[in-house]
């Protein structure tokens, strides 16, 4: 392939417009993707990412603006045909473009023949790509038996088999666990930096924006922000102040009244404090802290931390200034009456003791135990297939365990599954609503199903609409609601009977960050004001940080069980702190450090992350590895450990143990 100089524009969009009937999906987007770079599109469902990518790939027409791909103006299907051979598109959805019944090899062969790759070249490329993605061993395995991460890697191989110069990947990491996600990004990084590929990749995970050379944040068909991750962060002059307060409910009310964006993270409250114009960085941090202390005057502050904002904070700030309704939320009003639930001090809202569930030869859940207190937000994490759903089904009284026991909301799992069903609320990731029924009809139906007395139903429906912030849309069909509202309606439906325990199975997938924060605000109210115990599963590691207490499931077993804070402290104690340094040669640097045995060395855009216990001697040791290879790296900065680090490190450790 003729490699043009880096920096040349491979894709250039000007004022791109796409409409579906009355809805505008892409609304005047300008975008430039440069050769040899990984360009990210970040935004929630419905931001216009997929439409934009399909237009660039030439499989969707546009209604306005200009599209240029490889210098070729795309105005007709024939124009698109001219560049199609140089493009590879991987559509959204796990294994969506693959054939479930065919094996890995058959899938690859099919795509190669479709693209007219000759047999000799095919054999060579197949070998190379399978080696790179470590799928070699599974050549003959049918696609439907692959894990989510493996399906995505196979999708990537099939997209690459005709050696395109530009690959377009639509949310390749959605629904994939954090470990497989890191693996996928590492492969992609290598393709881009070593083979000179250009990649346009979309994601719904804000924290993944850090992995791109250039990132474009989108919302509602428009561009919110664009730049390198560093540029993006520099564009938000704000400070994040986290405080730990015994009187958390009151503290949250006060912070909510004074600042734009406050969320709960276990015992912490995390507030984004916008800078006063004219402040420089050190002054900004000092004044932010002072303003938070002032807002909390009179309350005992147990701990306070100051940090830089992250990309999700930027997204929310931009969404707010772009006039997205409710990007700024009002503080949660305290409920008129506080729920009176009196329990013995050792009472557990959820108690699982040695749960086992066997499917044939496969042990889906193996000796799982944990407890959840009333008013606690409990996160159940794990990759797809780790056993989360089975645990929830057992606790819900739908599936009896093969061994073990437990109680939910005071009812025994084995003897009284019917009691459990009456006392719990459940919200699934599908937001299981009747889309052809209105908001009120949905709520009334579930109220009837749960036996809310007729006389109380209307009142309860009104209460829920207020609590879940869905007032004023009573007569809209659920199917016409945007994702965020639909999600809050689903939550309201799960709460009709004032359950003591609520199960939430990936309740925020597909919802934008603003919607996710509002949702968590309601969860916070339920837990802290009404003493409801919440069990939540999520793929968003940033949400895992918000839980009071986490259990990590791996192959059906609990492999970590503590608060996020404890888990991070434990990782820091065992493996060290997280350090990031910039380098002009990220790919070679990360390879060299991995080879030299640096723990957790991985690539984030132009920065390399490592875990290391000794920050003082780290620069010298890194230089010792890099200098002989002619590589350089900047000074290391300490970064806060995230739940993703905890998750990935723990699972990799277990995989290593299992391999031995």
């Amino acid at each position: 392939m003729a490699v043009a100089p880096a920096g040349e524009a491979v894709v250039r969009l000007r004022g791109l417009l796409k409409r579906y009937a009355a809805r505008v999906a892409v609304d005047g987007v300008d975008l430039c993707v440069q050769r040899g770079r990984m360009h990210g599109l970040i935004g929630p469902d419905g931001a216009g990412k997929s439409s934009l990518m399909k237009i660039v790939a030439g499989v969707l027409t546009h209604d306005g603006g200009t599209v240029e791909v490889f210098g070729q103006a795309i105005a007709s299907e024939r124009d698109a045909e001219r560049v199609k051979q140089r493009i590879g598109l991987m559509p959204q959805g796990l294994g969506q473009n693959l054939y479930a019944e065919l094996s890995i090899e058959e899938n690859i062969d099919f795509f190669a023949r479709l693209r007219g790759v000759d047999e000799q070249a095919l054999a060579a490329r197949k070998r190379q790509l399978l080696a790179m993605t470590r799928l070699e061993r599974f050549r003959d395995r049918p696609m439907k038996k692959l894990s989510g991460g493996m399906k995505q890697k196979l999708g990537l191989v099939c997209t690459l088999i005709h050696e395109p110069e530009l690959i377009i990947l639509d949310e390749p990491t959605t629904g994939v666990d954090p470990v497989s996600r890191r693996d996928f990004w590492a492969i992609l990084d290598e393709l881009v930096s070593v083979r000179g590929l250009t990649a346009l990749v979309s994601t719904a995970y804000m924290d993944e924006a850090a992995r791109f050379a250039t990132a474009t944040m989108m919302l509602g068909g428009r561009v919110l922000a664009e730049g390198t991750p560093a540029e993006l962060l520099a564009a938000l002059p704000a400070t994040v102040v986290s405080v730990k307060c015994r009187e958390q409910v009151e503290a949250q009310r006060r912070l909510g009244a004074s600042f734009r964006d406050t969320i709960l993270r276990g015992p912490w409250l995390r507030t984004v404090v916008d800078a006063v114009p004219g402040e420089d960085a050190p002054a900004r941090a000092r004044s932010a802290e002072a303003r938070v202390r002032e807002a909390l005057a009179g309350l005992a502050i147990e701990a306070l931390d100051v940090d830089a904002p992250d990309l999700e904070d930027l997204f929310i700030a931009r969404a707010a200034s772009a006039g997205v309704a409710a990007a700024r939320f009002a503080p949660a009003p305290a409920p008129a009456k506080r729920m009176e639930r009196t329990h013995a001090p050792d009472y557990n809202a959820i108690e699982a003791r040695g749960l086992v569930r066997q499917f044939g030869d496969f042990r889906a859940v193996d000796q799982v135990s944990f407890t959840v207190k009333p008013g606690e937000i409990f996160g159940l994490l794990g990759a797809n297939g780790a056993g989360k759903t089975t645990v929830i089904k057992m606790l819900n009284g739908i599936q009896p365990p093969n061994a073990g026991s437990g109680a939910v909301a005071g009812a025994d799992m084995i003897r009284a599954p019917g009691q459990i069903k009456r006392r719990i609320g459940y919200m699934s990731q599908a937001f299981s609503l009747y889309l052809d029924m209105t908001v009120r009809e949905n709520l009334r139906l579930f109220a009837a199903i749960y036996g809310v007395p007729r006389a109380r139903r209307d009142e309860r429906v009104r209460e829920l609409m207020r609590l879940c912030d869905i007032e004023g849309i009573e007569d809209m069909l659920a199917g016409d609601l945007p994702m965020g509202r639909r999600q809050r309606l689903a939550l309201a439906c799960a709460l009709v009977h004032e359950p003591e325990v609520v199960f939430l199975d990936e309740p925020t997938s597909g919802v934008d960050p603003v919607g996710r924060r509002r949702f968590w605000d309601i969860l916070f109210r339920l837990a802290r004001h009404e003493g409801v115990a919440l069990l939540i599963t999520t793929h968003y590691m940033s949400e895992a940080e918000q839980c009071d207490h986490i259990s990590l499931l791996y192959a059906g077993r609990v492999v970590a069980d503590a608060s996020p804070e404890q888990l991070k402290a434990e990782l820091a104690g065992r493996r060290g702190e997280l350090w990031a340094f910039d380098t002009p040669t990220p790919q070679a640097t990360v390879k060299a450090l991995q080879a030299a045995g640096f723990a957790g060395a991985s690539l984030y855009g132009t920065a390399v992350h490592v875990l290391d216990p000794d920050g003082a001697t780290l620069p010298a040791r890194v230089a010792g590895v890099l200098a002989p290879l002619g590589l350089q790296a900047g000074p290391p900065h300490r970064r806060p450990l995230t739940m993703e680090d905890v998750f990935v490190e723990r699972v990799l450790e277990l995989e290593r143990e299992a391999a031995q």
Binding site: N396, G397, I398, Q399, R422, A430, S432, L433, D436, I449
Partner: protein, 384 residues
């Protein structure tokens, strides 16, 4: 054990769920229009359009005799049954008429036809019948045979008269009296048959669609974690769909069967409704069974076609069981539709009473209960 209060709760929940099913159906305007269409226009078309008698069958006469006798025979092929078209000159032209479909029957009258008859010898005519539609082919053949037979008789009688042996031939007068449908009005038969068929189709499809939709949307999970038991989830669907189908039946009977075709409803209408309700309720088990197998609407559609096609063949609607081979008759005995058709025609046209229908109804109820039980059991196993 459940107290009385609990039962009231269960009932209240059930009614709310029936209401929900009806509401959802009502919001599905396309389905509503389709239901309105089939229970009116479709039954009308079936009753008035489809016909099993021979109408204007095209016949080409290749007359190689060109005699008085041959013309006499040919002239007996008249409307409404037959319609004469161009006379081909040679066998090749005749074949072409059949091949191109311009003629359905070719009758060849050989040379010396009149001479042979006159001499008292056997004269032969040949028919070539396009039997690609076997029913029409058969009808055309038998009508032609009847015409020729009558011609034969007349020829014989004429010859007898000529020899002076008296003008009458001994013979059996075929006196036939049609019961229940005196004019053998096909609209009655076809209209009722179509209605019974539609009831069957929707009894399977509507509950299957309602159930599989919940599965597709994931709402079924939400119901399963609620205090509802599997039966409480399925029963309201079946009840709601039974109501909808009975409404369709009412429409069809009032507007089409009575309104247009003047079908005399001889039996008790309430009895027919009761039978239909029982039938719909029990047959819906098959639909629920399909819903547990299928993953989406498209699959339900295909499975329904797979199940409905043999059910209809084996319903006895087009062929009485006595005419079938024994293994097929055994299969027929397990098709609930077979009993419904017996009972349906029995009540509507023959005015049969409950007592007279006890046996088919019992069989229908039994088979239906089995289907419903199987559907419920699979549903339980799949989700619980």
């Amino acid at each position: 054990m459940m107290s009385r209060m609990d039962w009231r709760d269960v009932l209240g929940r059930g009614l709310e769920l029936v209401r929900k099913e009806l509401l959802q159906l009502w919001r599905d305007r396309v389905l509503i229009l389709f239901l309105l269409y089939v229970f009116t226009v479709d039954i009308y078309l079936a009753g008035s359009g489809l016909s099993f008698s021979l109408h204007n069958a095209t016949i080409a006469v290749m007359d190689q005799d060109m005699s008085h006798a041959s013309r006499e025979l040919a002239s007996r092929f008249q409307p409404p049954e037959f319609q004469r078209v161009a006379a081909p000159g040679d066998p090749r032209a005749a074949q072409q008429l059949l091949d191109t479909g311009r003629s359905m029957v070719v009758m060849q009258i050989p040379p010396r036809f009149q001479a042979d008859l006159g001499a008292g010898r056997q004269a032969a005519v040949q028919y070539l019948v396009d039997s690609s539609n076997s029913v029409l082919g058969l009808l055309a053949g038998s009508h032609a045979a009847e015409i020729v037979g009558r011609y034969n008789l007349e020829q014989g009688a004429a010859r007898l008269a000529a020899t002076g042996a008296g003008g009458r031939l001994p013979g059996v007068d075929n006196a036939q009296r049609a019961l229940f449908n005196a004019n053998q009005n096909e609209a009655w038969f076809m209209g009722i048959a179509e209605l019974l068929m539609l009831v069957t189709v929707f009894a399977i499809i509507l509950p299957a669609v309602a159930a599989v939709r919940e599965k597709e949307r994931g709402t079924i999970e939400q119901l399963l974690v609620s205090p509802l038991r599997p039966l409480e989830i399925l029963l309201p669907k079946v009840l709601a769909m039974t109501l909808v189908i009975l409404a369709g039946v009412t429409l069809a009977i009032a507007l089409v069967l009575r309104g247009v075709f003047d079908v005399p409803i001889r039996g008790s209408l309430p009895l027919f409704y009761a039978i239909s309700a029982l039938y719909v309720f029990t047959t819906s088990g098959i639909g629920l069974l399909l819903a547990t197998i299928a993953r989406n609407l498209a699959q339900v559609g295909m499975l329904a076609i797979m199940v409905l096609a043999p059910m209809m063949f084996l319903s006895g609607m087009w062929t009485p069981p006595e005419a079938l081979a024994t293994p097929v008759r055994v299969l027929m005995a397990v098709s609930p539709m077979h009993y419904y058709i017996d009972a349906g025609f029995g009540v509507l046209l023959k005015g049969m009473t409950l007592a007279e229908l006890a046996q088919p109804l019992l069989a229908m109820a039994l088979l239906g209960a089995l289907a419903f039980g199987a559907g419920l059991a699979r549903f339980r196993r799949q989700f619980a």
